[in-house]
């Protein structure tokens, strides 16, 4: 029995960032795995303790640049909770729209990366091409293409630009046609199905016990979504469904994300219909009260949570982030054991790694 440890990472095409996956193999079969995170640690939580509340928003963008809108939204939500600020209704609808646009962009980046993980460069280029359209939309809203800095405590920075609704709906119509094309290139390929079906099995019970959230959990058939179970913004006023898939494998996670992109298009359309007129921002106090608050959102990757302790000054006393992938990574050994080395990119790609928010 010849077993050896293989280091996958910190520099490895599979990792999607800086982290180390130690894999113990017997021949090509994985008998053990050990994720090592911490290569990208920037001391984010300490850094924000030296900044005033509004100054932290551009930092929170940097938590995960695949989903920077979600993270700055989560931060603003937490501080609004702390300060007891009521956000105007129009701002909430705008938030839902940009968040769902960000979700589609993030899932598209995942789809692209998953293509390269499995050796399909065409899928990468196709998905990145459509992601540009959503980046264009978000750019027209915020002026930036990656770190948007658009959310504000008590609303959003500015109202939607003129013609935004028309452009957005046009993009969605185009994008839904393109989604069918992706399904042809991914689902239509027997090799893709061979590579993803029955791979990376994660039992629903294991997923829940390990705290796995997001599409990975819903790919295990568990119908949990923070947007539904602990609604924020105006998600409870909109009519939408949670996308799940019962297969518990990589293919199920792929399916969940594809369905979520369709559902996001639906949510955006509905939000445009119901969006009222009005202000998009309210005034907020400079200093926070002496209490604690937390908020949680459904990030594209899972449940993001922030816990803040205010001490009466204009700076947070402590800000703790619970990031979805940091927790999901702990489920990696269970998902990997018993499969081949060649399945490592397929399985790790299917959980949509983002090391920025994992290591913070």
């Amino acid at each position: 029995m010849a077993e050896m440890w293989i280091n996958m990472g910190p520099q490895h095409p599979m990792t999607h960032g800086l982290w180390n996956l130690r894999v113990k193999v017997d021949g090509e079969t994985i008998v053990d795995a050990e994720p090592v995170v911490g290569y990208l640690h920037r001391g984010w939580e300490k850094l924000v303790e030296n900044r005033m509340y509004p100054q932290i928003i551009p930092l929170s963008d940097r938590l995960c640049y695949g989903a920077s809108m979600s993270w700055s939204h989560l931060y603003c939500l937490t501080i609004e909770e702390l300060m007891g600020v009521e956000v105007p209704e129009r701002a909430e609808y705008i938030r839902v729209i940009v968040l769902e646009l960000q979700r589609i962009a993030s899932h598209l980046m995942w789809l692209a990366a998953y293509g390269t993980d499995l050796g399909l460069l065409t899928g990468f280029v196709y998905a990145m091409r459509e992601r540009e359209l959503f980046l264009d939309l978000l750019q027209s809203v915020s002026g930036a293409r990656m770190t948007y800095n658009y959310m504000r405590i008590g609303g959003v920075r500015n109202d939607l630009p003129p013609n935004f609704e028309r452009d957005c709906l046009r993009t969605l119509d185009y994008f839904e046609k393109k989604l069918d094309e992706y399904e042809q290139i991914y689902d239509g390929s027997d090799i893709f199905l061979m590579r993803t079906q029955d791979i990376g099995y994660l039992k629903p019970a294991d997923a829940i016990n390990l705290g796995v959230t997001g599409p990975t959990l819903r790919g295990s058939g568990v119908k949990i979504d923070i947007r539904e179970h602990d609604p924020y913004s105006v998600y409870d006023e909109l009519d939408w469904d949670i996308c799940t898939h019962p297969d518990c494998d990589c293919y199920a996670r792929y399916r969940v994300r594809m369905d979520e992109m369709r559902m996001s298009c639906h949510i955006i359309r509905e939000a445009f219909k119901k969006m009222p007129d009005g202000p998009v921002r309210v005034k907020v106090p400079r200093n926070a009260p002496k209490r604690t608050a937390f908020a949680r959102v459904e990030d594209p990757r899972g449940e993001g949570l922030m816990y803040v302790i205010g001490d009466g000054t204009d700076r947070p006393f402590r800000l703790k982030v619970r990031s979805p992938i940091f927790v999901t990574v702990s489920a990696v050994p269970i998902m990997l054991k018993g499969y081949k080395v060649a399945d490592v990119p397929a399985i790790m790609g299917s959980v949509d790694m983002c090391l920025g928010e994992t290591d913070r």
Binding site: M4, G119, L121, T122, Y126, I191, R195
Partner: protein, 357 residues
């Protein structure tokens, strides 16, 4: 006129000029030696080797260019387009870049194995090009067992890859080398079996005779369609292209067995891969697609057109499929392709015994 006598003519002409000049200078003995048959033969063989390498090199860089442009079109982008007309000289620029890079040998590598493995791979790949006839007049050697010899040379490579993977002293290269050996050796079987049908139909292993037999009847892609498909699949595996590029799978093994090869070694290995791709496509053309036969244009041009069409199919496959897994590839090889090639042999036997072809 074959390639050898063509080169011999050029060499004799050059040697004549040189010996006349040397004679005029007064070195009469040297002039006589330079015109002796041994020297002429040596220079001719050298010239043939040079021509084979240049032709193979031109074909290979054209293939790389074709791959870049076609893959670009498949992916909705433009491919190489800056250096030279339509980016054709981009490969030369890349070659110069790799040529200027430092040669790095891992400290704990087995130097002999590490250095000799690429030599064997590149040498055998160039030998393959020498074995492929491009027409009735453009070939290096016309041997009766040509087909067998080509695949004998093809199967040198797994051995060198295994040595290179082992000698690099790296876990990724080791796994890549083992995978390569497993994949290539198991795909040799259906590959050779898929050729048996053609051999039965023509009764010859000589590539020229196989092409002539197709000129007299039909292209063997029609009676041997299953064999053609099996051959295409196995040859993609044999030249290690997506979807069967597991030995160098970059997502899991960081380029597999050639992780440690850098600079010009990498460049030459890359070139050797295209040499092998050319050889595979050329054998497909010779055996199944009528070789160099075609109207109006010269036979060499027809041959190259067909080769590039077959290579386009390789690129198309690469652009639309994901990589398979090692156990799946072995299952496909042993459980699907070998029975299919057996069926193909039976079809060939029936056709031959009924006298239909």
């Amino acid at each position: 006129m074959d390639l050898y006598s063509f080169t011999e003519g050029i060499v004799r002409w050059l040697v004549g000029i040189i010996s006349y000049f040397v004679d005029w200078l007064g070195f009469h003995g040297f002039a006589g030696w330079i015109e002796s048959p041994g020297v002429i033969q040596f220079l001719t063989i050298f010239g043939v080797a040079l021509i084979v390498f240049i032709v193979g090199f031109l074909i290979a860089i054209t293939m790389i260019w074709q791959e870049r442009k076609t893959l670009g079109r498949l992916m909705d982008r433009r491919g190489a387009m800056v250096v030279g007309p339509a980016g054709y000289f981009q490969n030369i620029a890349d070659g110069l870049k790799t040529f200027l890079k430092e040669i790095i040998i891992p400290e704990k590598a087995d130097k002999k194995g590490y250095n000799w493995a690429p030599v064997i791979i590149i040498g055998s790949s160039i030998l393959l090009i020498g074995l492929i006839p491009m027409s009735d007049r453009f070939f290096v050697c016309d041997i009766d067992g040509g087909l067998i010899f080509i695949f004998a040379v093809f199967s040198i490579t797994p051995f060198a890859i295994l040595i290179g993977g082992w000698a690099s002293n790296n876990k990724y290269t080791l796994i890549g080398g083992m995978r390569s050996a497993a994949q290539l050796i198991s795909y040799e079987v259906p590959l050779l079996l898929s050729l048996v049908g053609v051999v039965i139909l023509t009764g010859s292993l000589n590539l020229g005779e196989i092409v002539h037999a197709q000129q007299e009847s039909v292209w063997f892609v029609i009676p041997q369609f299953i064999g053609f498909i099996v051959f295409l699949i196995t040859i993609v595996a044999e030249v290690e292209r997506i979807p069967f590029d597991l030995p160098e799978a970059e997502a899991e093994l960081v380029e597999g067995w050639w992780t440690e090869y850098g600079g010009m070694r990498f460049g030459l290995l890359m070139l050797a891969e295209y040499f092998r791709g050319y050889a595979g496509a050329a054998v497909a053309v010779l055996l199944f697609l009528g070789g160099w036969s075609g109207p109006i244009l010269p036979p060499e041009i027809w041959f190259l057109i067909k080769v590039f069409i077959v290579f386009f199919v390789f690129i198309w496959i690469r652009g639309s499929l994901t990589r398979v897994r090692i156990d799946q590839i072995l299952n496909i090889g042993w459980k699907r392709l070998i029975p299919l090639s057996m069926v193909n042999i039976v079809i060939a036997v029936v056709i031959k015994s009924m006298g239909w072809l």
